[in-house]
């Protein structure tokens, strides 16, 4: 393995672990109390009320499964696609709320917060920053598992 490939493999490991842990953590609060998250979704005034319930129940589970899949499974690119799609959706929703001047909490981690325009802007910038490594992972060959970094010890024993 060349130095460049090793650096990319470690970058991939950091991106996978970081995004996976963040999404799993952010799903936790929403799964624990779907009602609070549904209220947060309603305040964006984006979805018709008949869709808020299913959205508030499904999205945290997608976050949880994609986060776990990103860290622990071979389906890194599929999980990264879901994470990127969710981040793009969050950015669009936050931009909508900022442009409309809504003074709401972002609902990002499933716990109520002070809210306001500044919090929405910080959340939007954070999501844009997270979208970069996430989109990179979609097109990345599964180097961490394929490079032998995880399987070298098994190979030596065999």
């Amino acid at each position: 393995m060349t130095m460049k490939a090793a650096i990319f493999a470690w970058m991939e490991f950091v991106a996978r672990t970081g995004l996976g842990v963040l999404f799993t953590y952010s799903a936790w609060g929403k799964i624990a109390d779907p009602g609070i998250f549904a209220n947060a979704v309603m305040r964006y005034e984006l979805l018709p009320e008949c869709m808020v319930g299913m959205f508030a129940l499904t999205l945290p589970m997608v976050e949880l499964l994609a986060g776990l899949a990103l860290v622990f499974t071979k389906w890194m690119r599929e999980a990264a696609l879901l994470v990127s799609a969710m981040l793009a959706m969050f950015i669009a929703a936050l931009a909508w709320a900022i442009l409309r001047g809504l003074e709401i909490d972002c609902g990002c981690f499933g716990v109520p917060s002070i809210g306001g325009r500044a919090e929405l802007i910080v959340a939007a910038v954070r999501d844009v920053a997270l979208l970069i490594p996430s989109a990179w992972l979609i097109f990345r060959r599964n180097a961490w598992l394929a490079s032998g970094l995880c399987t070298r010890r098994v190979g030596n024993v065999a």
Binding site: G35, N39, E49, C50, L64, R77, L81
Partner: protein, 48 residues
Amino acid sequence: MKLPFDIRVVIGIVALAVVLGVLNNFRVYEEQRVKWFGGPVVSDEGTE
């Protein structure tokens, strides 16, 4: 055109998420639940 990912896995994750989400609604306390085709069971309007 070959996609860099398996779309069946993506659909499978989303389908599993829908099932788990609906099951999670049975697990939580009644005041934390949401209507499947609606908003929260207990609205927080007027509490702020």
